[in-house]
Every structure is written in C-alpha cells, then in structure tokens.
C-alpha cells in the first residue's frame, strides 16, 4: 500500500495553505495531495467570473505543476476520497486503492445543496461549484432567453447578473424575505435588489418553488402562490453542504454535525485527523459554539493552522474564531460586510444612508468595541476592520469620526496599533 506522512484531501484554499504551512516546517516529510477535481487547483469563488467570461478557464489556477514538484508534493487529481478508515490510518479512494497516512487533513469543501422540490429529478438544471459546472453554465447562458435562478445568495446573484448582461430575462426566486440574506441587511439588500430590477431582472423574495416539471422550453416552475414560470435555463444556487460522505464506517469516529467538528487547532475528534475550510465546523468569534463559516478568508486561516499543527510547528497560534467577511461586487458597485450581523443585547446600531449617492454604512458596537460593519458603495479596509473586531479595540473616543470616515480612522488606528 502507498504510504505518506501527510495526506491532504482537497485542492482549494484551505488545502493549499496547509501544504505551504507543512512545508514551512517540514521540508522533507512525504506529502500527498488528493483531489476529486481533474483540474489544477482553483477557487470556487472565481467561478462566477468564468461563467461571465471575464476569467479565462485556463488563467484561474492557483498553483501549477511546478509548485507541487518544487515542494515535493505528490498531486493526485481526479481521485475522490471514498472512505476513511481511521482504525488503520488508511484512505480508500474511489478506484478502490488505498493510501496509508500518518496525518490527514480533510479539506474537501462543499457541494451544492439540492432542495427536495417535487419534480427536481425530472428536469435538467445547472449548479455552480466546480470549473466544469462553470464552463457548462458559460456556454448555456449565451443561449438563454429566459432564465430562473433559485436562491439569492452570492452565487445566485452573480449568475443572475451575468445572465442580465448577456440579455436574458432573469427571475431570481428566494425563500427568504430579502436577497443575500445572512450577508447583508435589509437596507443593503434593497440597494442590491434595485440595481438588479433597474437592469431588468425580476426578484421574487419570500417565494418558494413547489413543483418542477419539464416543458418544451425547458422547465416549468410552479410557485407557492400558484403562478408558474417558464425557464430555458435553471440554476440551483440554494446553498452548499459540506462534503463528508466518506465519513462512513470507522470514519464515523470523526465527529461531525453540520460540518466536521474541529478544535482551535483544526484537529478533529480523531487525533491524527484534521479538517479545514468549507467542510469544517469550528468555533465562531462571536459565540463559543461551533459554526459553519464557509468563506474564503477563513478557509485560508484554517488551512494554515491545520498545516502548522500537523507539522508540529511551535509558532502555531490557535484559531481566534471565525468572523464572517464578505465582499460583493454588482453592476459596478460594491458591498462589504465584516463581522457579526446579529445585534446582541445592549449593542448599539448606527446607520448612515445617502440616497442620492447610494452610499450606505451600518456599524454595530458593544461596550465601545466594533462587532460588525457593513457598507454599500462605501469603501473601507475590511482587513483593518476585522482587526479592530478581533483585537476588541475600544473605539468610544473616536466613534463619531469613525462613523464619518471609517477608512481614514481605521487606518489611523492600524498605524498606531499593529503596524
């Protein structure tokens, strides 16, 4: 049986950061990277831009073959993990072969969650999580005249914008009362919605599809209120679900809930098994309970911590807890969210909105410290804001100035505090 000291499963941000972190501390230990994807590593986050044609499918790779050769990493592409046998430290692959490992990182990411709508298995639809999904969707949108996007998260909204731009009629159907729920508040969502409706899209929030059926054009969707929609292109973007089906058999010893449960050093309930990125469920910064925080910056952070822990790097600092961080670019405008969207008891919410310019700012404070900040068309340094939150810096003395000019005051504090 093939044997490797470190087995990293997955090939996106968390896995790649782990590889770098392992190699920083252990230049020689055998290292194998296993991915179900046939391509070189890429980011799921870039895929909407492959769909739009802005990014060339061969220009998005985060590493090349040379990187893996230079770092003495054995790269196994197009090979999924089928089962984890923790009792004998072996990974069983889809082709039936096995790799024995000393330490394993599960950075297997997530896959689209397909809602159990009656008839969904009778129609053809798109999802967007892999590069192959993106190239297929890229070809399809050029033909589309009338598209429906299920789900108004960032993936769905990106795709909807692309469809609008190629001239298709687009309807977005979202169960929640607002679009981009969980990322942006109602005011920001309204600004985003207006940008879409101004460009000809139809947004149906608070709406549920109850039936799907094939039709001559493609798909007929029946909504809860009885109306029907026709679509020649259907994109299902109703969220993602961690990939962890390989935790069957003795893999069940790796405890999991919504995702794989990990400690502050990304270690699972099995001592030589780590998990990071979109498949991991780790401590939240604002709560002691373990949460899913499936965002790119967190994946890199978790991957780096996992890699350092696996290699025994004494420089390891434990995970401070996930802080939600999102940026969203739409029709030439941008929205940024940093921190908690929940308003705990005793917290203060300050908003500022200039209707003429469409600039919107919202900040949440508690005991003088920033908990969250959101902006539409109001640029501030999200990385600096995140530090203000993580370091629990008391902003009481500068609060009014901070709200007026968050970018400027954030930079002043940065330059005096953690420069």
């Amino acid at each position: 049986m093939e044997h490797t000291k470190y087995l990293v499963v997955g090939s996106s941000h968390a896995a790649l950061e782990a590889v770098t972190a392992i190699r920083m501390h252990d230049a020689k230990g055998s290292l194998t990277l296993l991915t179900r994807d046939p391509h070189l590593p890429y980011s799921p986050t870039v895929l909407p831009y492959v769909v739009s044609g802005r990014s060339s499918p061969d220009g998005i790779f985060l590493r090349d073959e040379k990187f893996f050769a230079d770092n003495r990493v054995q790269l196994k592409r197009g090979t999924a993990l089928k089962a984890l046998h923790v009792e004998r430290n072996a990974a069983e692959l889809a082709d039936g072969s096995e790799i024995a490992y000393e330490k394993i990182l599960l950075a297997t990411g997530a896959s689209p969650a397909i809602p159990p709508i009656p008839g969904i298995d009778t129609v053809s639809y798109h999802v967007l999580r892999t590069l192959d999904d993106a190239t297929k969707l890229n070809a399809a949108i050029k033909q589309s005249k009338q598209a429906v996007v299920l789900g108004a998260g960032l993936v769905g909204m990106h795709a909807a914008e692309n469809l609008v731009k190629v001239g298709a009629g687009v309807t977005v159907v979202e169960m929640a009362k607002q679009l981009t729920d969980g990322y942006f508040d109602a005011t920001a969502a309204a600004l985003i919605e207006k940008a879409f409706t101004d460009n000809g899209a139809t947004i149906l929030t608070g709406s549920r599809v109850v039936k799907l059926a094939p039709s001559s054009k493609g798909v007929t969707l029946t909504l809860e209120n009885g109306t029907t929609l026709e679509a020649d292109l259907l994109l299902v973007a109703t969220g993602v679900r961690p990939n962890m089906a390989y935790l069957n058999g003795s893999g069940q010893l790796v405890l999991h809930d919504k995702g794989i449960l990990v400690s502050d050093s990304m270690q699972t309930s099995v001592a030589n098994v780590w998990a990071a990125g979109d498949c991991a469920q780790a401590k939240g910064f604002f709560t002691d309970s373990k949460v899913m925080n499936a965002i790119l910056p967190d994946a890199t952070e978790q991957g780096r911590i996992a890699g350092m822990a696996m290699a025994g790097d004494p420089g390891l600092k434990t995970y401070p807890g996930g802080v939600p961080l999102n940026t969203y670019h739409f029709f030439g405008r941008h929205a940024i969210s940093v921190g908690s969207s929940k308003v705990p008891e005793g917290a203060e919410v300050v908003t500022r909105f200039d209707e003429a310019s469409g600039r919107y700012l919202k900040a949440i404070f508690k005991d003088g410290c920033l908990l969250g900040i959101y902006g539409v068309n109001e640029f501030f340094d999200a990385g600096v804001m995140c530090q203000l939150i993580l370091r629990r810096i008391d902003l009481s003395a500068v609060k009014q100035r901070f709200l007026a000019e968050p970018m400027k005051v954030g930079r002043e504090i940065m330059s005096k505090t953690w420069r």
Binding site: H13, T20, I60, F67, P297
Partner: protein, 450 residues
C-alpha cells in the same frame, strides 16, 4: 508562488521627520494615475499634527495574505524583487484582497474601479525623492544579505565569544568581504581570545593568521605585506585589533605604519576597554564609565570613585592627522554604511594605509542584555555619542550619517549598566563633550572640504 528566502529592497518611513505635507501622495498619484488626486495615491499618510503622522502602504509581506485570499490568481509575490504584483487581466474586482490585508496596503481606487497597491515603481519609487524631509527612504541593504550570504565565511564555526558579541559579527562580515586572499593579524584581545588564532594547533580562520604582540602589530603586518609584494603576490594585509592594542601600547607601531603609508588595512574594534582580560580601562574608555580599574565605590582620601575620570582619546581623528589614504568610523548598526566603507578601505589599502574604526558595544563589559547590541550601537549614533564619517586626502572629512535631531545622551547612557552610577554633573559633562566633539568634527569637515 516563489519560495522566499532572499531579502528585498524596501521603502522605509521615519515618522519623526514627516510633517504631513502630502507631497509623496501627490507624486504617487501623478506617477500612477496621471492626476494629483491624493486619494488615489498608493501611499497614504494618515494621522495628524497632534497625534503624529503614520503610513498606510503595502508592506510587500513575505507571507502575503492578499495573495492567499485572491480567488483569481491575480496577485503574486515576485521572488526576485519581493514586490507583490497585481495582474489586471486576471483580477475580477472582488475586493477579497482588501479583506486579507490587515495594513490597508491594497485598497479600492475609486478612480479606476480596481484595487491598487504599491509596486515600488520598479525599484525607483516616485514618493521617495518627492519627500522634502527625507522621511521616506528606499533601503537597498538587502544586497548585504543576498550577496554576502553567498560569500564564504572565513572564520571557523563555533568561536568562543560571549553571547551577543558584536565583534564576532564584525569579524565574520569583514573577512567575508575581504576574501580568501588575505593575511590576518590579530593582536592580543577579544579577537584571538575567542579563537581566531585557534586551539590545539589549528587556526580559527581559513586564511593565514598570526598573533603579533600588542606593541608591534602594524609593524609586523607591514613587513609581511612587503615580503608578499617582493615575491609578486597580491594579498590583502588586514589587522583586526582592539582599541587597547591600537590606542595605548600599540600606538607607536600604528602611527609609524601610517606615516610610512604602508599598504595595509588596520581595523580597530573599539569596545572601549580591555574586555578580553577583564574589562580594564583603556584610553578609548569614555568619561564616567565603570571598568574593573575605574570602579565605583567610596574611593580613598575622601575622594569617591565614580568611574573613569578622563575623557576618551579620539583615535580616528588622530589617524586623520596622519593624512592616511582612507580613515573612517563605522558601526554594525549601520551595515550598509559599514560595507560602503569597507569597500573603500580595501581599495585604499592597495595604495597605502587605510584605517577603519568600528564602535563595537560589549555586552559583557558594558553591562547590557545580550540581545541589545544593535540597539546600543544605534543609540550611540542617534545621540551623536559617536559619529559616522569618512576621510580621504582629496575630499577631506565628510559625515556619512549625519544626525540632524540627536537624542539626549541619556538615551544612550541608560541603555547599559556601566553608566548606572552617573551623577547629574557627570551626565552633563558627557552631554557637553558630545556637543564639543560634534562641533570639532563639524569644523574639521568644513575646513577640509572648503
């Protein structure tokens, strides 16, 4: 992604010199956007007159978070220049890089709709010459790390110096630079004491080394150099001597060799005393300093003993008065300056006598923590307690690192234990001497260059 390991040039900011005029931002905006809109500058001065000015600028991190969070492979660290490069054709304007950076080093440029960051203008940053107060400098010291690191270390590993010894650093750097075609003289002192002349019949160097007397170092080395020249072989004749061996009992030999313009390079490691034999005072020990022969105590005859009662001899100025081919003072806290001078001294020693005086703090003899050597060396310069200058007969004496706004000398004195006992009168004496010495050297610099 490149594998990192080299050192890079960098833009440095001295907050104390910045008055917030914004000229750097105008220069950057002009160079990068063709406008004078300071909000579009990639270097951002923040803060106020009241709180002091500071900087938001890409630090060209060695472990760049902006690169790791970019989903589009649009940011890469250039392994050769160290600059984090932005690829416009790959960028998707997602702004995630601004989430990754905790230093506001990459931000949205509203004018272009894309992110923008400092690229150091390909090694000639427009902001640096635009600063009217020299608050911005482009530091190119990385050359020392990258090039010198590849040169052969001509001292044996495992020299027996004290922990945190500055002299070991100095001699390893010097010998690397001077190279293998060298004959080395190391008179009694810390340099042979820690092993240059070796143990048990093997030398501590990979070049010929000898151990002259304190009194005859320059004379012996001059003789050896002459013999090599007579047989037609080009070698560097290098002495690394202590201040005791040079300024006290070795002085007549040193002065004689300088007067005869012998083709040698004489380096003095000035740790201001006989540190190797137990920290006795030398003529280079400064006023007020504790040594084992200028102790602190009740004294005798009603005269309390409060450290050395005389001022230090200024040996490098005496050497200037020999009109040597080259004379300079240096400090390991200013490596670029030291290397520039070493290069010039080696060249000068091919024509005649070259003298390099290096101020070298001694953790054991001066009583400061072993990790503070560079800090003490730097404070000596920042307070003008020592001055960095160079001299040659053609150009005269010039300061190489003038200190415009010196710190009070107490900042230097309090960094070590040998001055702990000083009375206010003694401190004001030392501060007075600093002012006097500066005026004296300035006058000399003025006269020589006039």
């Amino acid at each position: 992604m490149a594998m990192f390991g080299g050192a890079y040039n960098t833009i440095a900011f001295d907050a104390a010199k910045c008055d917030g005029c914004g000229d750097c931002m105008t220069a950057c905006a002009t160079a990068k956007t063709g406008t004078v809109d300071q909000s579009r500058s990639r270097i951002q001065i923040v803060g106020s007159e009241h709180d002091g000015f500071e900087l938001a600028l890409c630090r060209q991190c060695g472990d760049p978070k902006c690169v790791t969070v970019c989903p589009a492979a649009a940011l890469t660290k250039n392994g050769d220049s160290g600059v984090i490069e932005w690829n416009a054709s790959k960028c998707v304007d997602c702004l995630l890089c601004t989430v990754g950076c905790a230093y506001a080093g990459i931000a949205l440029d509203a004018g272009s709709g894309h992110v923008a960051k400092c690229d150091t203008c390909d090694g000639a940053p427009a902001c640096v010459p635009a600063c009217p107060h020299q608050a911005l400098t482009y530091i190119t010291t990385s050359r020392i790390y990258n090039e010198v690191g590849d040169w052969e270390d001509l001292f044996a590993p495992g020299l027996a110096g004290c922990q945190g010894c500055n002299t070991e650093l100095l001699m390893r750097h010097t010998l690397r630079r001077v190279g293998p075609e060298t004959v080395l003289a190391t008179p009694p002192g810390c340099v042979p004491g820690m092993g240059s002349v070796g143990f048990n019949g093997t030398t501590g160097t990979k070049v010929p080394v000898f151990h002259p007397l304190l009194t005859n170092t320059a004379a012996m080395l001059a003789g050896i150099k002459r013999q090599y020249r007579r047989v037609g072989r080009e070698v560097n004749a290098l002495a690394i001597a202590g201040d005791g061996g040079a300024s006290d009992v070795g002085f007549q030999s040193l002065s004689g060799a300088a007067e005869r313009n012998e083709q040698i390079l004489f380096m003095v490691v000035d740790n201001e005393g006989y540190m190797n034999t137990g920290m006795q005072r030398s003529s280079c020990t400064p006023y007020g300093a504790w040594t084992s022969t200028t102790p602190i105590g009740k004294g005798s005859g009603g005269m309390p003993s409060q450290g050395k009662t005389q001022d230090a001899k200024n040996l490098p100025l005496i050497m200037v008065n020999h009109r040597c081919e080259y004379v300079a003072t240096a400090s390991t806290a200013y490596m670029q300056d030291l290397y520039d001078k070493l290069d010039k001294a080696i060249q000068a020693s091919k024509r005649g006598f070259a003298y390099l005086h290096v101020y070298s703090p001694c953790t054991t003899g001066w009583r400061f923590p072993t990790d503070q050597n560079m800090e003490v060396a730097r404070k000596a310069v920042e307070t003008n307690f020592v001055m960095l200058w160079e001299y040659n007969p053609k150009d005269g004496l010039e300061f190489t690192r003038p200190v415009d706004d010196p710190l009070p000398v107490t900042e230097y004195l309090k960094a070590m234990g040998r001055f702990r006992h000083l009375s206010p009168d003694q401190i004001s004496h030392i501060q007075g001497k600093v002012v006097e010495n500066l005026a004296f050297v300035k006058q000399m610099a003025h006269r020589q260059s006039a």
